[in-house]
């Protein structure tokens, strides 16, 4: 079953489109990283899924229910943590937990106690007096404690120091591992934050989903390539998968290969006999930059 499905989902603000005809399916049990530069439409998409915003076109379904018809019983199975989200400022963490507990039949008191200790959260201080990191941990604590089937996190790591970020991730990983599949959708503009967690990566830019594939497949097909030889030149027609081709001198060609494979390796060797071809793996964050630059350049051409 899919935890999330979007069909031609669109939303504009006035005449400005934020999400454009987006179609997407996320199977349950996956950890999906929603990546994209600022203003790409990530927050709008997540709000559309949760019915916090109405679409101007298309539909979405979440845990098998139409987003526009979500009721309290579905919201009890969904956790939502967003940067800067509203919390009852006057409550202490202990009061917040007491307030939430009766609302959720699946509330796990033992997990709540364990997480609160792990997060090192003071129970007796009002939320308004907590630091940014503490507030995010309080929001995560109140969501994880009812063991939701789906966690939606919007830029959860922004401004968190590395120690707090690590505690936050450790908290998230408390959720899976029992008999129910748990699905995570996490938006971020910084892939390094989720590199070790993501099964799948979606890359959003200009309201469109440009890429949706597994993190391992992305790492598998992207390579930087450097060719060093004497008086070499790139072939006239650009071979499939070649991106960002540069020639800093007559003896060096550099490029990013977006469709690397053993066949692509042989093609490179055949194109440049007698030259040295070195090939290096790329991090997801390097791949993300290539995709973002590619989108910016093609969007620029479209506008011109």
């Amino acid at each position: 079953m899919n935890a999330i499905e979007c069909d031609n989902l669109s939303r504009s603000f006035g005449r400005v489109p934020a999400v454009r005809e987006l179609t997407l399916a996320i199977p349950e049990g996956r950890f999906f990283a929603l990546l994209g530069p600022n203003g790409a439409g990530k927050t709008t998409l997540l709000k559309l899924l949760l019915n916090l915003l109405r679409p101007t076109g298309g539909t979405s379904r979440i845990l098998g229910h139409e987003s526009s018809r979500l009721t309290a019983s579905e919201f009890r199975r969904i956790g939502y943590v967003a940067d800067g989200q509203d919390l009852p400022e006057w409550m202490t963490v202990a009061q917040l937990m007491e307030f939430c507990r009766p609302l959720y039949p699946t509330w796990d008191g033992a997990l709540a106690t364990r997480l609160q200790a792990m997060f090192d959260l003071p129970g007796d201080r009002p939320i308004k007096k907590l630091s940014r990191g503490m507030r995010m941990k309080a929001a995560l604590l109140s969501s994880l404690s009812y063991r939701p089937d789906l966690m939606v996190l919007d830029e959860p790591f922004g401004g968190l120091d590395p120690l707090v970020r690590d505690e936050f991730i450790q908290g998230l990983l408390e959720l899976p591992g029992d008999d129910r599949p748990r699905t995570f959708i996490v938006s971020s503009h910084d892939i390094d934050e989720v590199e070790r967690l993501a099964d799948d990566v979606g890359f959003l830019a200009g309201g469109r989903l440009l890429v949706h594939e597994s993190a391992d497949s992305l790492r598998g097909r992207f390579r930087t390539v450097e060719v060093v030889g004497s008086a070499i030149a790139p072939p006239a027609g650009r071979p499939a998968g070649w991106l960002e081709v540069k020639q800093p001198s007559g003896n060096v060609i550099q490029l990013v290969h977006g469709a690397f494979s053993p066949a692509a390796q042989s093609e490179l060797t055949a194109l440049f006999p007698g030259s040295t071809v070195s090939v290096h793996a790329m991090t997801l964050s390097e791949i993300f930059l290539v995709l973002a630059r590619g989108h910016r350049d093609s969007a620029g051409k479209e506008a011109a």
Partner: protein
């Protein structure tokens, strides 16, 4: 605490890095045959990796015969095997070819590479 360590490097599949770390820990004797191997959940939480990835690590190491699953007891490190003929052929072909290609590219000569291989061989034996 896990009985082995992983020094994560960006750009390489997480799953490959963890399986390699386990095999290295076995080669050095840090993980002894018969000792208990951590559960998927523990692996995921201690290494801060996706539980699906942790599951894939255990499944593939079990399929390779590096780990043994005893129902009701848990997963343990398998005793060393001689390795199948196919495994040995694969090592000699793929891994060594890659080493030789890289070494030639960097301008190393045969003696230096052989000496380095011997050095590593002794290092792992020494730890054990």
């Amino acid at each position: 605490m896990l009985p082995f360590t992983v020094n994560f490097r960006p750009g390489e599949p997480v799953y490959e890095q963890v399986t390699y770390a386990v095999k290295k820990a076995i080669a050095t004797g840090q993980l002894a045959a018969g000792s208990r191997f951590p559960a998927v959940r523990t692996l995921s939480q201690e290494l801060r990796i996706n539980p699906n990835t942790a599951h894939k690590v255990v499944t593939s190491l079990t399929a390779e015969g590096v780990l043994l699953v005893h129902p009701g007891i848990g997963t343990v490190v398998a005793p060393p095997t001689a390795g199948s003929a196919a495994d040995r052929a694969a090592l000699l072909n793929d891994e060594l070819e890659r080493l030789v290609v890289e070494a030639r590219r960097l301008g190393l000569d045969e003696d230096k590479v052989l000496a380095a291989v011997r050095g590593h061989w002794r290092k792992l034996k020494g730890i054990q």
